[in-house]
Symmetry: C2
Subunit: 144 residues, 2 copies
Amino acid sequence: MHPDDFDLTDFLPYLLNQAAEECSLAFQKHYKDRYGMLRTEWRVLFHLGRFGTLTAQEISARSKMHKTKISRAITKLEHRRWLKRDTDAKDRRRELLQLTPLGQKVYHDLVQVAHDHQLELLGQFKMTDAKALQDMLKRLARLQ
Amino acid sequence: MHPDDFDLTDFLPYLLNQAAEECSLAFQKHYKDRYGMLRTEWRVLFHLGRFGTLTAQEISARSKMHKTKISRAITKLEHRRWLKRDTDAKDRRRELLQLTPLGQKVYHDLVQVAHDHQLELLGQFKMTDAKALQDMLKRLARLQ
DNA sequence: GCTTGTTAGTTACAAATGCAACAGTTAGCG
DNA sequence: CGCTAACTGTTGCATTTGTAACTAACAAGC
């Protein structure tokens, strides 16, 4: 292949990064400005809000984020009293994490924002196209 | 909206990040292991390889990367003698950047890898779906 | 020509990240 | 039981990043 035939702006990893960056930005404003959170932190919050009690390891497996990032996010969320941890009695290495009522409040608030943001992003496409996009992204992310 | 109805794994910013991460990883191995480059560096390399002579500012506008990242990437690429810079005679603030023959060699090598990687990623979809995916991503990234 | 404001690019510092080493716990197996 | 290997989560350190301040060069208006 002749290199002039290669269009950088069609290159999927590049395109995905650009789109991800663009789409994350507007939403980032909400959790950053309103709650001073980092991306890692809202992701942990969202996992716990959506799936209930999880260990750090399980969050890592689901989100594919590195365990050190998760460990630090958990510490921060704990200091804000948005989650609490209990050592698993059956396996004292594991820590069972779950949101406090306060953490759930924040979660509910941000879910609402996320939902609205999602509608806006996907609103520019036909319903079937939007669904197809999500499916393809899931396959690319090896989530299904 | 009830928060239980919100599925994190359908949330576009999250999904895009996951897919971007997954798709970038395999390609990253090539420029990282073979050339010890960072993501920012191959992006600058790719822009110069694809579009010829550019200034840092133009690369920033095209890629939406922050100018400090670009400045540092340029310094690294320059030290490896993959690009050279010349002050624009008409505006001595601007620096005209272009790849050296050596830099072009690296670019051509990586373009080939990128192209193969792209085929593999999109091969799992029907041609028309792949095209639709790229179009939607471009719109989300506000590239068109 | 001078002042003021803007732009291109760099640098300093603080914050976030990745990697490797670590402690503590459990599991497997002789 | 006693030993080694594997696993969960944390920490230290080097690297990367983001923000803001900075220098140098140009542009516009007077």
